[in-house]
Amino acid sequence: MRHSSNHFNNRLFMITGLSIALIIAVFISPFASKDPDGLDRVAQDLAFESKAHSDPLAHKLPFFAVFEEYAVRGVPEAIATPLAGLAGTIVTFGLAMGLGKLATRRLSMTDRRSSAHQHDESNWE
């Protein structure tokens, strides 16, 4: 009983959190300031911006054919950034969840450490 309600809470948190992130990445990103940020500005002002490789390693990856920085190629400009935001957020979420699941996987019950957490769902063990 306790396990399933905790499970529900975690699910809810996950969906809420991911939704907020997606809303930010998709709907707010087009309104982001286009001024250069800290390092860009310093690189311009102090004239070392030109040192950046014009054809860096990243341009040789297959993703470069799809994304030009945070904009999807070949779509109307209005949705280029939101689409990129959508893709990036989902990929990042998936990778983090995947790594997290892999890293916290317990091979057997005896591997589980007894935790002093009051809210720990392993109370049901």
Binding site: N10, M14, G17, A21, D37, G88, G100, T104, R105, E121
Partner: protein, 276 residues
């Protein structure tokens, strides 16, 4: 102001009309270039190598720690944190003076997830940014993970914890003996003060580290680079503190149980509840 900028713009840029309307150079289709992501070319090989070694060592350690200590209920928070930080890093907010800033997120990840899972989360964010969106160089990725991720998840977290414990102790010593701190041993006030200060500091320190790396690479002299980077990032750090505090507050009010507690703290809490 526009004329000043023309002085420094690289002459090989070939979009004069573009430059007229957008004097700060950004890429041809007008997307903001987010940073403090260092592109390939700013740092020399030895500096990048050292950064890679440090980053890989800390990531490997973080992986071991997560495997040993973290419960699977931390996984949703890892996913959400990674997604949120990625998304928030896209949102540049304007800073007076024609510059912009955006959330770095290292301290946020550290406060919510602790330094170990937090570091894994930040590493994933920067990897995705560099590999898929060409944001920050790939060879420079080690340096970017170190500066923007690990400084926050380690330095930011431990500074946060130190301040929080200090404020709690001050608070506790003022209270009457009958009142006791919250079950978890911490107050909201100390959480916020610690978060605000640590997140601001982590941004400023990261910018100083970048200036150091640039100087060691011979890209720009240290004093010049330091003044410029730290100058801007003292302001950008305020934005970081604001966003981090807001996010931490939101999660504290909805799911305080999700916050990371170190095993030391867990043992303390256990002994406290047993002795009652």
């Amino acid at each position: 102001m526009i004329l000043d900028c023309y002085k420094f713009i690289d002459c090989s840029l070939s979009q004069p009309t573009m430059m007229l309307f957008q004097p700060f150079s950004i890429n041809p289709i007008g997307q903001p270039i987010v940073a403090m992501h260092i592109p390939d070319g700013f740092l020399n090989v030895p500096v990048m190598l050292i950064a890679w070694i440090l980053s890989i060592a800390l990531i490997a350690l973080s992986l071991k720690k997560v495997e040993a200590d973290y419960q699977d209920r931390a996984v949703p928070l890892m996913g959400v944190c990674a997604a949120f930080i990625f998304a928030a890093q896209m949102i540049n907010f304007p800073i007076p003076g024609g510059t912009s800033g955006h959330l770095m997120g290292g301290t946020l990840a550290g406060v919510l997830l602790g330094p170990w899972a937090g570091s894994l989360v930040m590493s994933i964010v920067f990897m995705v940014q560099a590999l898929i969106f060409q944001d920050g160089g790939i060879v420079a990725l080690g340096a970017n993970i170190l500066n923007m991720g690990l400084v926050g998840t380690f330095g930011g977290y431990y500074l946060f914890r130190t301040i929080r414990n200090f404020v709690d102790r001050l608070q506790f010593s003022r209270q009457s003996p009958r009142q006791s701190p919250r079950q978890s041993g911490h107050q909201f006030k100390s959480l916020i003060i610690g978060t605000a200060i640590a997140s601001w500091f982590s941004v400023v320190f990261a910018s100083a580290l970048v200036a150091l790396e640039l100087a060691l690479s011979g890209t720009v002299p240290l004093s010049v680079g330091l003044t410029a980077m730290v100058g801007w990032h003292m302001m950008i750090g305020l934005g970081e503190a604001l966003v981090t505090v807001s996010t931490v507050t939101f999660i504290w009010r909805s799911r305080p149980d999700l916050f990371y507690t170190s095993s030391h703290k867990k043992a303390q809490t256990l002994s406290r509840s047993v002795s009652r």
